[in-house]
């Protein structure tokens, strides 16, 4: 997949830059960026395809299904910093796309 520079990708990268060392969940990213799953996941896939995003399955806790987690790689962090600076993206004060999350 081709990596496109779009405002939505910049939003996702900005969200990762808020806590570069933290693993993030898809739904949490969706809530904080305001992107819907149909937009968010193709972006995550493209980032992962270009080795900019690390993915892992969460260790299973009793009674809870494991979740897929995401974190920028070293290259991803560098890429995110240049892209976010180039796009001039402000840290979003986004409206959540979905309300009522547990996480």
């Amino acid at each position: 997949m081709k990596l496109r520079r779009s405002p939505q990708t910049a939003l996702v990268l900005t969200e990762f830059l808020r806590g570069p060392e933290e693993w993030k969940y898809g739904y949490d990213i969706s809530r904080s960026t305001g992107l819907k799953s149909g937009t968010l996941y193709p972006i995550l896939m493209r980032l992962a395809d270009h080795s900019l995003l690390e993915t892992a399955w969460e260790t299973v806790e009793a009674g809870r299904p494991p979740r897929h987690m995401y974190k920028l790689t070293g290259d991803g962090l560098r890429y995110a910093r240049t892209q976010v600076t180039a796009e001039g993206v402000q840290l979003p004060n986004a409206q959540p796309a979905f309300s009522g999350g547990k996480a």
Partner: protein, 239 residues
């Protein structure tokens, strides 16, 4: 579990089941997130989004032969639905034509009308024969599946372009026009004139729709061709 939640889960499960192997973990990821969304409406919107994501992934290039069986199954499932709808509408049309022409006196238009009905029936028969071939072989390996997939893609590509497309449009547009004209000739009245005019308007809308949807049609044809090329390249590489 509410009905909305059940629907969301069902949609997500379908997305997981139908995803190509290379995207299965992503589909599974969206499915798991569903468990952490409290609002049922939000869960449904999330599931519909994952459906959209899966649809985008279907258009992604084939990267290995292992993806071919699932891609072929998805493609056949989708095209079967549209083929059945097309066949059904053509059957209804042919029944309608036969009714109109059976009750009118013999003449050039009547013969032409019957010819048209025959043309549609032949078309339906051709479609039905081609449709029978759209099955993945139960036995055999990936090359057999790839061959069946390629045949279906070629068939659909040709159906949406060139002679097949224009012959189909001619049959569909000419039929109602001819019948309305014939009835108006036999019984010239205000009602039959109105029928003729409404048929003209309907045909105009149909032609206009075809012109408007032509770019989308071309994109679909190009996508089929791209998939055929990818299949050929994968087979050439030995998977």
């Amino acid at each position: 579990m509410t009905r909305l939640r059940k629907l969301a889960v069902r949609i997500s499960d379908t997305v997981v089941r139908r995803s190509l192997p290379s995207y299965q973990s992503w589909a599974e990821a969206t499915r798991r997130e569903l468990e952490f969304i409290e609002s049922d409406w939000a869960a449904l919107r999330w599931a519909l989004g994952s459906w959209k994501m899966a649809a985008r992934c279907q258009n992604a290039p084939l990267t290995s032969m292992s993806e071919v069986p699932r891609a072929a199954r998805n493609f056949l499932r989708e095209t079967r639905v549209s083929a059945v709808l097309t066949l059904f509408s053509l059957l209804v049309m042919s029944y309608w034509f036969s009714g109109v022409f059976r009750h009118t006196v013999a003449g050039r238009q009547t013969r032409l009308g019957w010819g048209l009905v025959l043309g549609i029936l032949v078309y339906i028969a051709c479609e039905a024969i081609a449709f029978r071939g759209w099955r993945l072989p139960r036995e055999g390996g990936l090359p057999e599946v790839a061959n069946a997939y390629r045949s279906a893609l070629l068939h659909q590509r040709d159906l949406l372009s060139g002679v097949w497309l224009w012959s189909r449009i001619t049959l569909i547009v000419a039929g109602p026009m001819l019948s309305a004209y014939r009835v108006w000739l036999l019984k010239p009245s205000a009602v039959h004139e109105l029928i003729l005019r409404s048929n003209l308007a309907a045909c105009g809308i149909m032609v206009l729709t075809l012109i408007v949807t032509r770019p989308a049609n071309r994109r679909i044809v190009a996508r089929y061709q791209r998939t055929i090329d990818e299949l050929n390249a994968l087979e050439g590489d030995g998977g």
